[in-house]
């Protein structure tokens, strides 16, 4: 029996495992980096061990330190979570060698499935359909997909549409894979344009018996990373689903799989055929949707399998659970902007109404699995996922409606998230009809926000700022804001990307054309438009004292982050034209040009790595590099001036 379990992970998954441990009476041990010391998962654990430093390679990826932490804290078992060391056979072996219980599959299974090349071979032999590309691809084989053999989560994955790009994309994928996984092996397979990602949850007892807990659809992806996941998969014929389940079972049986795993398939809805993609030998991020429709605690099941394996017993699965009676949908709430660039900063407010956290039960509800709480700092060292928000209900339509409402009502301030995009996805007719494919999100046009809602929110934000200004006065405090005895013009508050809000300060309070201002305080505004009253709440925030102010507004229909355009800018602070700014916090990997060199528009000036993805920074125009402010290895903050390219004179002599 496991008495004290260490989770070799962080954030929400550490909390997820701890939650089950608490229910089962198992003591918990957290390991944490310095940047994570203040996060809830550390506070919640019975014991915590510091892993000095921040970079994953110095902390969560250090097998020796993690095993030592288990020893020091008296843990008798280790759960790897997902990501980091979860699919590292060496880690599994080190844990077992230290005499600890490894909550996961055997190192052999991890290795077999860890190499995608090897896994494909095994599956072919077990009769599971796979995608095969010729060794010498021709035009007819396009498009192709380059994948890292050791990859996951879209890292090291590249689509090739022109044969001449193949070599360079393979090289880039190799570099990325080498950096992310320490293994540069890549392979090429046909790329199915309109495929869906459907995966099957399995739990093996290590003695050949495999429990299949249905399938999940994870087709809504951006940059090969899952955004929305649901169970069961919508709009797939029952026979196909059965065949999928059988294939997954065969895959797991082929390696006498032990523990929880996921067999991923690419499903082509046009032909109703599916192909094995890979098997993940760990608990998936999206496991809650399966838990909620099957009423099964997957972590508990993992622990039971591990305990049985440890004691030499054989855990038998009594049934396959029948058919799921509910539908569950999960969205991943990321700290990222509209271009999917990770965001960092203080999560000033983080409130999502929910029924459950890391648990299951009931016929419908909202479950939030989160690694953050209001006031926590979101660092750039790790994955940008803030929380998983899951709705479950007797049917899919109801689950969608609940999830949309929960997201709309959520109050998230301080860090930009993909919340609005998630709402758009969930309400898109393509999603509602269950017709999404893995490329849908990237081809989907960005819808414009509703202008009327936007104006009310922007006006509300402007008035909240005005009320805050009024409250900060040190003289004439009781005088109505912006009062004038001779009126010449409105007050103007401007937010980036919006028309200036014009308002008047009168003896009766704020006046705005077309809107009746009922009540305003620094944190809320009640406005009436066309006889309809709307309550908007707001949170003011500035990156640094005196910096541009932001207002995070939450209205009934929309939430927005509004950044005030300052009245004045010091010319000394102005950024020289042609400055190349860091698009996100990260590390400079390569600098490809030298100062004083001529560059053409589009030339790569330098390469940044952030979130294990490489981003190229290119010259915005023809010209001369006048400044290079960074060198390889430098850590840069978002918005930092990396280099300056002075535009070439357009007129000749």
């Amino acid at each position: 029996m496991i008495q004290r379990l260490l989770v070799a992970n962080r954030g929400e998954i550490a909390r997820r495992v701890f939650a089950t441990c608490r229910r089962l009476g198992i003591e918990t041990v957290a390991v944490h980096s310095d940047a994570d010391a203040g996060l809830p998962f550390v506070a919640e654990a019975d014991h915590a061990v510091r892993l000095p430093g921040n970079a994953p390679a110095d902390t969560y990826l250090r097998i020796d330190l993690v095993v030592e932490a288990a020893r020091k804290s008296g843990a008798d078992a280790v759960h790897p979570g997902y990501g980091f060391l979860s699919e590292n056979a060496d880690f599994a072996r080190a844990v077992e060698a230290a005499g600890l219980t490894w909550v996961g599959p055997s190192p052999e299974s991890i290795e077999a499935m860890g190499s995608k090349v090897e896994a494909k071979r095994l599956m072919r032999e077990a009769g599971v359909p796979t995608l095969e590309a010729s060794d010498e691809p021709s035009e007819a084989d396009l498009p192709l997909l380059v994948k890292a053999s050791a990859g996951g989560g879209g890292r090291g994955m590249r689509v090739v549409r022109r044969l001449e790009d193949l070599a360079s994309e393979v090289a880039a994928a190799q570099a990325e894979a080498e950096s992310a996984f320490g293994d540069g092996t890549v392979f090429v397979e046909p790329y199915v344009e309109r495929g869906r990602h459907v995966e099957v949850q399995v739990v093996g007892n290590g003695h050949g018996q495999v429990l299949v807990l249905g399938e999940r659809d994870c087709s809504v992806q951006r940059r090969h990373q899952k955004v929305v996941e649901e169970a069961p998969a919508p709009a797939i014929d029952g026979d196909v689903v059965d065949a999928l389940h059988d294939a997954a079972r065969r895959a797991a049986e082929a390696i006498s799989y032990r523990g929880a795993g996921t067999v991923e398939f690419l499903y082509d809805p046009d032909t109703e055929r599916f192909f094995f993609l890979e098997m993940n030998t760990r608990l998936q991020v999206e496991h809650p949707v399966t838990e909620l429709v099957w009423d099964t605690d997957l972590v508990e099941l993992q622990l039971a399998v591990a305990e049985a394996a440890d004691s030499g017993a054989v855990l038998g699965f009594s049934s396959n659970g029948g058919a799921p009676q509910r539908h569950a949908i999960e969205v991943r709430l990321y700290a990222e902007d509209a271009s999917y660039l990770p965001q960092s900063g203080r999560l000033v407010t983080f409130e999502i109404d929910h029924d459950l956290e890391f648990a299951l039960g009931g016929e419908r509800g909202i479950r939030v699995d989160s690694g953050f709480a209001s006031g926590d700092d979101v660092s750039t060292f790790y994955d940008a996922m803030l929380a998983k928000v899951v709705a479950w209900a007797p049917n899919r339509e109801q689950a969608i409606r609940q999830l949309v409402a929960a997201l709309r009502r959520a109050r998230i301030h301080g860090v930009t998230t993909n919340r609005d995009q998630l709402v758009e996805i969930l309400t898109d007719p393509v999603f509602v009809a269950g017709e999404m494919t893995t490329t849908w999100l990237e081809s989907r046009p960005i819808s414009a926000e509703s202008p009327s809602d936007s104006r009310t929110s922007v006006v509300a934000a402007a008035l909240m700022l005005a009320a805050a200004d009024a409250g900060r006065r040190t003289v004439q405090q009781g005088v109505p804001p912006a009062w004038r005895n001779v009126v010449s013009q409105p007050q103007r508050t401007t937010f980036e990307g919006h028309e200036p809000v014009e308002w008047w300060g009168t003896r009766d309070g704020f006046v705005v054309d077309g809107i009746t201002v009922l009540e305003v305080s620094p944190t809320h505004a009640r406005l009436e438009v066309d006889g309809v009253t709307t309550e908007t709440r707001g949170q003011r925030y500035a990156d640094h004292p005196g910096g541009p102010r932001e207002v995070w507004v939450d209205g009934p229909a929309m939430s927005a982050r509004l950044r005030e355009v300052p009245r004045f800018t010091d010319p000394a602070d102005a950024v020289a034209s042609g400055s190349l700014l860091a698009p996100m916090p990260g590390t400079v990997v390569k600098v490809l040009v030298e100062a004083d060199r001529e560059v053409a528009a589009g030339d790569v000036v330098l390469v940044l790595e952030a979130m294990k993805m490489q981003h190229t920074v290119t010259a915005p125009h023809d010209g001369t590099v006048t400044e290079i402010n960074v060198e390889p290895g430098a850590q840069v903050a978002s918005g930092e001036v990396l280099a300056v390219v002075e535009e070439a004179a357009t007129t000749a002599g």
Binding site: A470, R484, S488, R567, F568
Partner: protein, 530 residues
Amino acid sequence: MSGNREAMLEKLADLDAQHAVAVAGGGEKYVDRHHARGKLTARERIELLVDPGSAFLELSPLAGWGSDFTVGASVVTGIGVVEGVECLISANDPTVKGGASNPWTVKKIFRASQIAEENDLPTISLVESGGADLPTQKEIFIPGGRLFRDLTRSSARKQPTIALVFGNSTAGGAYVPGMSDYTVFVRGGAKVFLGGPPLVKMATGEESDDESLGGAEMHARVSGLADYLAEDEHDAIRIGRRIVARLNRSTGGGRAQSRPFAEPDADPEGLLDLIPTDLKEPFDPREVIVRIVDGVSTDSTNGGGNGRPFDEFKPLYGTSLVTGWAQLHGHPIGILANAQGVLFSEEAQKATQFIQLANQSDTPLLFLHNTTGYMVGKEYEQGGIIKHGAQMINAVSNSSVPHLSVIMGASYGAGNYGMNGRAYDPRFLFTWPSAKSAVMGPAQLAGVLSIVARAAAEAKGQAYDEEGDAGMRTMVEAMVEEQSLPYALSGMLYDDGVIDPRDTRTVLAICLSVIANTSWTGGKGFGVFR
């Protein structure tokens, strides 16, 4: 709607229209041309200069009303808060004849400097003026020198002076930056020299240009007249705000901060119903007071709060004048308000005593005018009305606590003096649109003239021309009526502005806050005389 209200709203609509004339400055064409040059108008500059959301109390907006010059006198003056510091702001209006100064401009700026001096305010001049209006130079040139004298004396009193120069500031105008503690010149805009290229050519034969004689770059790098070179108008205003932020004045030299307070117990909106259309009809000033002073509040850290809105002093004596104590935006004040128009000996003596009491407790005074003057007639002359009136005027003149005056209705005769009219230098004086002020009522004045003329005719044994008399009376009555109206008085700088009665509380609150930059002690020497 009451008749009173309707009449007052009509007057207020007219007031808005008069203010709109001042705001329009040189008119759409000149404002557009100014904007097209990338320049901001005077009021746009002020709006950027003052703290976001703070109030701006414009002073003498109707200066020059009734004269040949544009209403507003081509300059905007007022009190605004910059970086938390109350400042006197003065901005030339370059859309009116290039911002040239006329006689009213000069008077308006004099008044603004007086306010800055009395209330210890820094002065910020937003300069863009083509100099003096030459056709009226004889009224400007000699007295106008005081403008520069005031600036440098202000500096000597350690009341900082800041000039933000946006455009022309030539000849005499060059001394505005010349006399200021801090100067900011806008690149490509500021032009500051004693004599321009043509004058220099005539005087010495030297060939020159604007930039070498008076450009911003030159003054910043060569002459040193400019302390800061601003990139553009916004930048100049930004620098101006930074200068104020570093004046180290945030602590203020004056009294303690005002106390917490409650809004008035009665709705100020009701003031519009209160003032009769015919000023012969008296109204109860207590109804005005309760609408402008703080309401009852208990949540005070200071001695149990404001238990009553108004504690009337001597309510049974001299009932034609109401006196008492109140609080406005937390500032303690004493109030004298006419109740029945006429001031008798009792009222004069009561006022004298009350003013002395306010001086004993260092309490500022507010005078609410609605008076037809001191009582005349045998009985009253024999009762010593001159002595008693003189006592009151003496007390008003020599009281050393700050005074504020609001002319609500009539302010006739020596009553205007006793109630602290313009000549008695209240710190601020504002007028309601319902006000009238003259030596006596128009009908009375015409009647007096008629009686005197008749007596003269009779003395000469001539027959009196009754028809001519009627014509004369009508003409005089109309003329006096016009001259005693608020716009005419305001146009001549006899007040600091005509205000909406509903804004009275706010205006007075700003004035009291401004006054609190200074310290004062009430007059000393004798105890209080009854």
